[in-house]
C-alpha cells in the first residue's frame, strides 16, 4: 500500500482519508475561477494532535500540506498548487469554552461561522462575533488565515484584530500557543506578550491554525438595516466620514450594482443600527438621518432608500447565481475610503469591457480608517469564455488596486506576486527568512506568499 496513504489512515482512520479520483477531483477545485489543482491525498483530521502527526510525516516524506477550511476564499488559496495532502479541517469544529464574563469564545478552527452564531444565539444571546460577508459555512480559522473582516468591522476592525489567542501546528509539527493561553492562563488576551504575528494573512503557509480565542461583543436586542442612496459617487466618502463621526452604526457598507436595475448607477449605503430599546434605536436614527444625512436630502442629492429592513445573521447570498451560472469571484482590497468614487468608476469600466454586470461594495473598517472594497465578477461555470472573462477582469482589477494605491486583500497567487513585486526588499527578505525558518522543507501550502 502507498506509504503516505497508509500513514494517513493510521493517524485519522480509513474513513477520513482518500486518494480516490472522486475526492481528488472535488478538492482540486474551489468556487472561483482558478484552474483545478489536484492533490494526491485528502485527509480530515479530528484533533490538533492528528494534524501534528500528519505534518511531521509530511516533513519526512517531503510532501506538501494544504490546510482547508470552508473553502470560501474563491481565490484558490487552499488549492494544492504542488500536489500533496489537502487537510480538510472541518471535523475540528468543537466549541470549547464560552466565557461570557470575559467576553470570549475558544473554538476549534474548523468550526463554521454559522455554528458559532447559532451557539451564541442559544447560549449567550447578548453576545456576538463578527460574521464575515461569506456563507455561514466559512470557518473561523480560514477567515483568520486570510485576515478576514466582517459585520463588526466598523466598530472593532478586522476579524483578525479580535483575537485573544491562537493554537497553531507549526510546519515542523510542534503545537504552539500564543497569547495568555501560552502561559497557562485563560484565553482572554493576546497582549502584552511579545507579538508573534506569524500566521494571520499567510494563507496557512506558516502553520495550521487549530484553535482560536475570539472576542465577543455586545449583541443588542433590536437590529435593522436602513439604506441611504445618492446618485453622485463622489459624495460617498463624505457621507461615510459623517456617519463614522457620529458612530451610531454597527455596520456601514456602500454598494452599487448593475443588477437589480433599480440599483444601477446609484450608490447605496446600508446602515445597520442596533439597540436595546426602541428609544435607543430612535435616538440612533435621529443622529444618523436628522443630524448627519438630512442636508443631502435637503440639497436634493440624497434620499432614504429603505428604513427598518430586517438585518439577518448569517447573511443569505444569492449572488453566485446572478448569471444562472453558479459562479462569481471578487477582488477584495483594503483602500482609503476616499478612493470609493475612483474604485467604482474604474471597476464599472472593467466590468463593461468583459460584459459582466458590475457589482462593487465598500465595507467601512474602523472609524473610516479604511474600507474593504470589492469588485465582483459573476460567471457561468459551464461557459469557458465567461470564466476566462471573469479571470481577466480579476487580474485587471488586481492591477487597478495597485494603481490606486490600495492593497489586495486575500490575493490569489497573481495578486500575491503583484504585491511582492512592489514590496520593500527588506520586508520581502524578512518574509523569506520567517518562512524558511518556520518551514525548512517548504511543505506548507507551497506557492502561496512564496518569495523568489
Amino acid at each position: 500500500m502507498d506509504k503516505i496513504y497508509s500513514a494517513l489512515t493510521q493517524i485519522v482512520g480509513e474513513d477520513y482519508v482518500s486518494n480516490r479520483p472522486e475526492e481528488l477531483f472535488t478538492y482540486s477545485k474551489d468556487l472561483g475561477t482558478s484552474p483545478p489543482q489536484f492533490p494526491e491525498y485528502v485527509a480530515a483530521p479530528r484533533t490538533a494532535e492528528e494534524v501534528s502527526r500528519i505534518v511531521r510525516m509530511a516533513n519526512q516524506e517531503k510532501v506538501a500540506v494544504v490546510p482547508l477550511g470552508g473553502g470560501m476564499t474563491l481565490a484558490g488559496l487552499a488549492l494544492p498548487l504542488r500536489g500533496g495532502i489537502v487537510l480538510d479541517l472541518k471535523r475540528m469544529d468543537r466549541i470549547i469554552e464560552l466565557n461570557e464574563k470575559a467576553r470570549y469564545v475558544v473554538i476549534e478552527a474548523g468550526a463554521s461561522h454559522g455554528k458559532l452564531t447559532a451557539h451564541l444565539h442559544k447560549h449567550a444571546p447578548h453576545l456576538m462575533h463578527s460574521e464575515p460577508g461569506a456563507p455561514p459555512a466559512a470557518t473561523i480559522g480560514g477567515n483568520l488565515a486570510i485576515h478576514g473582516q466582517g459585520d463588526l468591522a466598523h466598530p472593532y476592525g478586522f476579524n483578525s484584530d479580535m483575537l485573544n489567542g491562537l493554537e497553531v501546528v507549526l510546519p515542523t509539527g510542534e503545537i504552539c500557543r500564543f497569547g495568555s493561553c501560552a502561559i497557562g492562563c485563560a484565553w482572554y488576551t493576546l497582549h502584552p506578550l511579545p507579538d508573534l504575528g506569524l500566521f494571520l494573512g499567510w494563507n496557512g503557509s506558516t502553520g495550521i491554525i487549530t484553535k482560536v480565542s475570539l472576542r465577543l461583543f455586545p449583541c443588542k436586542k433590536f437590529r435593522e438595516m436602513d439604506i441611504f442612496v445618492v446618485e453622485d459617487e463622489t459624495l460617498i466618502p463624505d457621507v461615510l466620514f459623517a456617519l463614522t463621526h457620529v458612530g451610531m452604526a454597527e455596520d456601514l457598507v456602500a454598494w452599487s450594482s448593475a443588477i437589480p436595475p433599480f440599483a444601477n448607477e446609484l450608490h447605496h449605503i446600508s446602515i445597520n443600527i442596533t439597540g436595546d430599546s426602541k428609544e435607543e434605536m430612535e435616538f440612533k436614527r435621529r443622529q444618523i438621518f436628522d443630524i448627519k444625512l438630512s442636508k443631502y436630502i435637503r440639497d436634493g442629492v440624497g434620499a432614504i432608500g429603505a428604513v427598518a429592513q430586517p438585518s439577518e445573521r448569517p447573511q443569505i447570498s444569492k449572488s453566485a447565481d446572478w448569471k444562472k451560472g453558479g459562479g462569481f469571484e471578487y477582488v477584495g482590497s483594503i483602500m482609503p475610503v476616499a478612493a470609493y468614487p475612483e474604485c467604482y468608476r474604474r471597476g464599472a469600466e472593467i466590468s463593461t469591457r468583459h460584459d459582466i454586470p458590475y457589482t462593487v461594495l465598500g465595507r467601512v473598517i474602523g472609524a473610516a480608517h479604511g474600507m474593504m472594497f470589492s469588485w465582483s465578477y459573476a460567471f457561468n461555470r459551464a461557459d469557458d469564455r465567461s470564466v476566462q472573462h471573469a479571470r481577466d477582469a480579476l487580474h485587471e482589477t488586481d492591477d487597478l488596486v495597485m494603481e490606486l494605491g490600495g492593497t489586495i486583500w486575500k490575493p490569489a497567487v497573481f495578486g500575491q506576486q503583484l504585491l511582492m513585486s512592489r514590496m520593500d526588499p527588506n520586508t520581502l527578505q524578512m518574509m523569506k527568512k520567517v518562512k524558511t525558518m518556520l518551514d525548512p522543507n517548504g511543505i506548507m501550502n507551497p506557492g502561496n506568499w512564496e518569495v523568489a
Partner: protein, 388 residues
Amino acid sequence: MALAQYKYKDDIHRCFRCGYCKFPGDWSDVTNCPAYARFRMESYSTGGRLWLIRAWVNGELQWSEHLGRIVYACAACNNCVEKCPLSFSDDIVQMVVAAKNEMVELGLLPTPVKTYLQNVQLHGNPYGLAAKRRGEWMADLAVAPYDDQEFLLFVGSEGAYDSRAQQAARALALTLQAAGLSFGVLGKEETDDGNEVELLGEDGLAEMVAQQNIQTFQKKGVRKIVTFSPHAYNAFKAIYPKYGGRFEVWHYTQLLAQLMRKGAIKPAGAEAAKITFHDPCFLGRWHNEYKAPRQVLQAIPGVQLVEMARNKKSALCCGGGAGNAVIDLLGGSPDSPARIRAREAAATGAAVLAVACPNCLTMLEDAVKVEGLEDRLAVRDIAELIRP
C-alpha cells in the same frame, strides 16, 4: 464519455458549493446532510455530489463503484432543498435521481443497489424474501382482506417483512380495528410501493410496480388508502398520479389524529412520561406534515413531548431514505446519521424515541443498541404507543 441526455445538463453547474445545504434552520451545524455527516468529505456533501455528477456527465470523470456509492449515499432527505436559497433548489434531489437514472441505463450500479432492484423485480420487496410470505405479518390477526371497505391499509415491504416493522404494523392494525375503522389489506396481492425504486433511478421498474399496485387498487375499487410508511405515502401522493393512479391518501398518523379528535381512539396511559419525536423526511420535509404525529403523541395521557434540537424542517434524517435502510451506505460509524440521531434523542432525557416510519424504526433502534442506549431509550413507532 459525455452523457448528452442527462436531464439537468443545463442547470447542474449552477450549484456554487456555498454549503447552505449542510445546515439545519438555525445554522447550528454542518451535519444536517446525512451523507456529509457520515463521511465529512466535500465529495459527500450535496454540492460535492452535484459537481461530481457534472464531471461524470461531461466525461471529466469515469464511473467507479466509489462514485456510485457517493451518488447513492444521498438519502433524499430534502434538507438541501429546504436550505438552498437559489432558484433551482427544488430540483436538487431530482438532479441526483437523474444521475442515478443514467447509471441504471448504463448498468453501472454499486452492488447493494443492484441487489435491491433485482429483489424488487423478482420478489416485489427489497429483502429478497418470497412474495407468498407477504401476508405473514398478520397471520394471527383477524385483519380482513380488502373488499370494498372504506380504507385500504397498505403496510408496504417494511411492514410486511422486517421483523421489527412487522410489530409496529400489527400494532397499527389492532389500533385501527379497535377504533372501528372500516379497512382491509391486500396481503399477498400487495407489492412494493416503488418509492425507493424511483429514487434509486430505476424508472422502468418503479413504473411497473406502480402500475401493478394501481391495477390491483382499481380492480378492487380502492378509493382511500392509509399507509403505514411515509415512503408509500409519497409514492401514492406524488408518483402514482403520473401513471393514472389517483386515490385519497392518508398517512396513518393523520388518520389517527382525526380518529382521536372524534373520540374513536382513547389511548391508555403512556409507556413513558417523556417522549421525543423524530420527523420522517417523507412526511415532514417532503409533505410538510409536522402536526399530525405530534397531535397523536400529545393526546396520550401523561406524555410530555420534548423536541430534539433539530426538529421538523431541520430534523436530521436517520439516513434510511432512497433505499439506504437496506443498501446501508451510511452505516458502520459513530458518525452514521442514525447514531448521531440516537445520541440527540438521548440528550433530551426522553425515555422513548417515537417514530412514524418503519425505516426510521429499524434504523434508529439498531443505532440505539450500537450506542448502548437501550437501557434508557426505547424506540417505538407511534402505532405501538397507542395500541389498545
